[in-house]
């Protein structure tokens, strides 16, 4: 793993990639994030964060088949790696613990 930190936006993006299923390329991921966060998200930010996540080994990407809707241009499809999933679970566990502490207080 080339980096073990996960920023807030990166965490959201990782979840969005996982949630988008098989069709997780730039457009649906950006739309999904906008939808769930309710704020405008620039495509540049999505690409930058996906780049970082890929560099850290939390996602991997591969080109999908060319589609006529996109004028024959291919999509770059992302998927979460096991390392990415482990990172997501770790983050979730920490948060759960914190929430439990808060609720018990």
């Amino acid at each position: 793993v080339r980096g073990d930190k996960l920023g807030e936006f990166e965490e959201l993006l990782l979840l969005a990639v996982r949630a988008s299923g098989d069709e997780s390329y730039g457009v649906p991921v950006q739309e999904y994030l906008e939808r769930v966060t309710g704020r405008a998200i620039a495509m540049g930010a999505v690409y930058a964060a996906l780049d970082r996540l890929e560099h850290k080994g939390f996602v991997r990407s591969a080109f999908g088949p060319a589609t006529p809707e996109r004028g024959g241009k291919r999509k770059r499809l992302f998927s979460v790696t096991p390392a990415g999933m482990k990172m997501l679970r770790d983050v979730r566990r920490v948060r759960d613990r914190l929430w439990r502490t808060i609720e018990q207080a």
Partner: protein
């Protein structure tokens, strides 16, 4: 109901153009398609205006991301471009300070040039190996004396050729090769060549195979070439091929002549193959290698020609009836030399390659057993106990040579140190002058590493320029220096090889880094605020740079002083060496190579003495000759020192009676021996003043026994030789000290009457310039068109006396002499001298 096709909603052209200008590289298509798709979806969901606005925001964010990516991963070109900037900047700096930079470059170039030239020559003399494969397993096999008599005087360690033939099959622990060195005038194919004397190694057929000598053209010598009746073939050295045969690959199969004997060239040895050497002398490749049988056949051909000429010359004068018995015998010996094979028996050097798993100790035991077994029937000619030693051929074991090499390389290092300190000083001054420029760059955001890199680039560039100039200087300097050092250009290859290239490159880089490191380091540590405010010159503390410069200057001055002192001492030594009183006047002396082998012919002492007298009287008749004498070993030609009982070395010389007068050695006390005493082999000795002082102190040595100097005398039955200490020898005179060896200048000398059994050389004193006499003798004998033999005479300096073939007499006489001298045939030469005496 049909929707408006999404495909028709296209993003604004300006936005698309702006995106394309973003240089997204491989991701261009993918991102364009993503943004197009997103635009269409937004048009559908939010309307065109909002979609267009968001599209521009997205393009802008993508471009920002792309710019950040490019900055985070600098491309190689960016680095190259920075480097080019540094170089251009450095060039500008050089242009701004032409004088000081030229001074620095020329200074460094001189140092690099001299250092490279010195290294080239040291490399040629000391570092370049013998070209022998795996030299660690090759040994030189040395005998105290050859078991059998040889044609010419052997040097210590040599064997007789016939010894080699008998011994080598018994040496099972190693593969033995033999070599003998001869020389002769060279004549190339188509009668080219300058007639210069070239060295030829006659070697056993397995020489190349055992030593791993390779050829680059043709084939090496093989055992099939070294059998009786095989054609005379030769392999040339790379250097000889380049210089004398113009590197022509078509030379294979062509014929050349050495001493008028034809050899067919079958191969050219690889560059660097010289062959092993057991001495500390300069390793020189012979011009040619031929086989021992080839040399033997050539010798036989020469002897045949000599005999024919002798008969023709005698017949022409009708002198045959006047020949006395001794002359007839001499002619008979010439005939014997032609008809019988044992007559050819030169001294040979033996080398062996140890077989796998054999230790040097086992090899020596084997060599000793083999040699003693084979030579049991042959009493050693000069009465020494026979012994075999194995020597290394490793040059690095040569202490004397390595001392000289160390001195030379230390001098080179000092020169480089001075040059580097000089350039460092200059660059430091430049940094101080440019402090504002450097601090401005630092203030504008340049990192300190960037500044150091800039300054290092400048010094590397300076070093590179100096390196190129220095290399050119070295190319010019090496042949000039080699000529001044009298290194034979056809034998010693001083042209640079890979080691010299590596040395020059490493030197250039090292000099650049050494000279540039300190200034660059100081430049990178400029105190920014202080300099910008104009407070201090440089550095974070006021005295540091001053101290640094002082240290540099002091180092430079110290190294310069050391160099000057060394140079002064060297020059003084040279002057001393040229003006030293060596005890006799070499300026009018010549050495005549003659008179060898007579002592081994079975003549009695009286006959040998009579013969020697005749030779001397003939030589003395030559115009310009004041006197002639015989001496065991010519001064400066490898005088042998022997330890006295107290361990101090002493030189032992056997001479004829007139040696002291002829050579000019002053008699201090007593007298020298008379011709009668020499003839009678009287037990008398003359000693040098130094020996008188050391052994007798204040006592008078005259009349006392030599045993006080040399310890116990020979036991009865000892045959004598170079270790001879005749019983009852008494001192009859003390003479001035002489210097007869460069390395052992203060060794005292014992002079004894020349014994009949001792080989000797003729020293001739001339009334005028010996070189003129040599020139007269150098004239080519007529009747041999196209056959030049200039190399027969070598002119020498006073320290290396010239050799002349003898009196320039009638054509026939000189021809005999010439023919006889071209090979290693003392016996033949001697006969020729005798025959010449008969017909003169």
């Amino acid at each position: 109901m049909r929707h408006t096709p999404l495909r028709e909603a296209r993003p604004p052209a300006l936005g698309r153009w702006w995106l394309r200008r973003g240089r997204l590289g491989a991701r261009q298509d993918e991102i364009e398609a993503d943004l197009d798709e997103l635009f269409r979806r937004r048009v559908r969901a939010q309307g065109r205006v909002l979609a267009t606005w968001r599209y521009y925001l997205d393009v802008s964010s993508v471009r920002r991301w792309q710019r950040g990516r490019a900055a985070a991963t600098p491309r190689r070109w960016a680095q190259t471009s920075t480097m080019i900037q540094d170089v251009v900047f450095a060039c500008r700096l050089f242009r701004r300070q032409p004088l000081s930079m030229t001074f620095a470059i020329v200074g460094l170039a001189l140092a690099i040039g001299v250092a490279t030239a010195v290294f080239s020559i040291v490399n040629a003399i000391a570092f370049r190996g013998s070209g022998v494969a795996d030299p660690a397993s090759v040994v030189s096999i040395l005998a105290t004396v050859p078991a059998r008599a040889t044609n010419t005087t052997p040097t210590m360690g040599d064997w007789a050729y016939t010894d080699y033939l008998d011994i080598s099959p018994a040496m099972t622990t190693m593969e033995v090769v033999a070599r003998t060195n001869v020389s002769g005038a060279f004549r190339g194919p188509d009668d080219t060549g300058n007639g210069a004397r070239v060295g030829v190694s006659a070697v056993s057929g397995n020489y190349f195979a055992v030593l791993g000598g390779r050829t680059i053209v043709g084939r090496p010598l093989t055992v099939d070439d070294d059998v009786d009746g095989a054609p005379a073939v030769a392999v040339t050295s790379y250097r000889f091929w380049q210089t004398q045969l113009r590197g022509d690959r078509a030379v294979i199969g062509r014929r050349i002549w050495i001493a008028d004997e034809p050899f067919t060239i079958v191969g050219v040895a690889a560059r660097g193959f010289v062959g092993p050497s057991s001495t500390s002398r300069l390793i020189t490749a012979p011009a040619l290698w031929t086989t021992l049988q080839g040399a033997r056949n050539a010798a036989r051909a020469r002897n045949t020609a000599d005999l024919r000429t002798a008969h023709a010359s005698i017949d022409a004068r009708g002198a045959r009836p006047q020949l006395d018995a001794s002359d007839r015998e001499a002619l008979g010996l010439l005939e014997t030399n032609v008809s019988t094979t044992p007559a050819w028996n030169p001294p040979v050097q033996l080398f062996g390659r140890l077989r796998q798993g054999v230790t040097p100790h086992q090899a020596r035991a084997n060599a000793m057993a083999a040699a003693v077994g084979v030579t049991a029937g042959y009493p050693t000619p000069i009465g020494q106990p026979f012994a075999v030693t194995l020597g290394t051929i490793d040059r690095s074991a040569d202490g004397d040579l390595m001392v000289v090499v160390s001195i030379l390389l230390t001098t080179v290092a000092l020169i480089m140190l001075v040059a580097c300190a000089n350039v460092a000083n200059l660059l430091l001054a430049t940094v101080i002058r440019r402090r504002h420029e450097i601090s401005t760059r630092l203030a504008l955001g340049a990192s300190r590493a960037r500044v150091v890199r800039q300054l290092m680039t400048e010094s590397l560039l300076l070093g590179l320029a100096a390196g190129v100039l220095g290399w050119l200087l070295a190319i010019w300097l090496v042949p000039v220096a080699a000529a001044r050092l009298q290194l034979p250009s056809d034998l010693v290859d001083v042209s640079p090889d890979w080691l010299v290239y590596v040395f020059a490159a490493a030197l250039t880089v090292a000099a650049s880094v050494t000279a540039g490191l300190t200034p660059a380091w100081r430049g990178g540590r400029l105190a920014l605020v202080s300099v910008m405010k104009g407070d201090r010159a440089i550095g974070q503390s006021p005295g540091r740079t001053g101290r640094l410069r002082t240290t540099l200057v002091a180092g430079q001055a110290a190294a310069s002083t050391l160099l000057l002192v060394t140079t002064a001492l060297f020059v003084r030594s040279l002057v001393n060496a040229s003006t030293i009183d060596i005890g006799f006047d070499t300026g009018r002396l010549m050495v005549v190579q003659a008179e060898q082998g007579v002592e081994r012919r079975g003549w009695d002492a009286n006959r040998i003495h009579a013969f020697r007298d005749a030779v001397l009287s003939h030589v003395e008749q030559v115009p310009g000759v004041a006197g002639a004498t015989l001496v065991e070993r010519v001064p400066f030609s490898g005088v042998v020192n022997r330890p006295m009982p107290n361990g101090e070395p002493v030189t032992r010389q056997e001479t004829t009676a007139d040696y002291f007068e002829t050579v000019g050695v002053r008699v201090l006390r007593g007298r020298t021996y008379t011709p009668d005493e020499v003839r009678a082999g009287a037990p008398v000795a003359v000693i040098s003043a130094r020996l008188a002082q050391r052994a007798w102190g204040s006592d008078d040595p005259i009349g006392s026994s030599m045993e006080r100097a040399w310890g116990m005398a020979d036991l009865p039955g000892d045959r004598g030789g170079i270790m001879r200490r005749p019983a009852g020898t008494r001192v009859i005179g003390v003479v001035a000290d002489t210097v007869t060896s460069v390395r052992h200048a203060d060794v005292p000398t014992i002079y004894l009457p020349l014994a009949a059994s001792t080989p000797a050389a003729v020293i001739v004193a001339t009334t005028g310039n010996p070189h003129e006499a040599a020139s007269r003798a150098e004239r080519r004998p007529p009747g041999q068109p196209g056959r030049r033999s200039r190399g027969d005479v070598r002119r020498g300096s006073a320290a290396a006396p010239a050799r002349a073939p003898g009196r320039p007499g009638r054509a026939g006489d000189q021809h005999w002499t010439h023919r006889a001298r071209t090979g290693a045939h003392g016996t033949v030469r001697h006969d020729v001298v005798r025959c010449r005496a008969a017909v003169a």
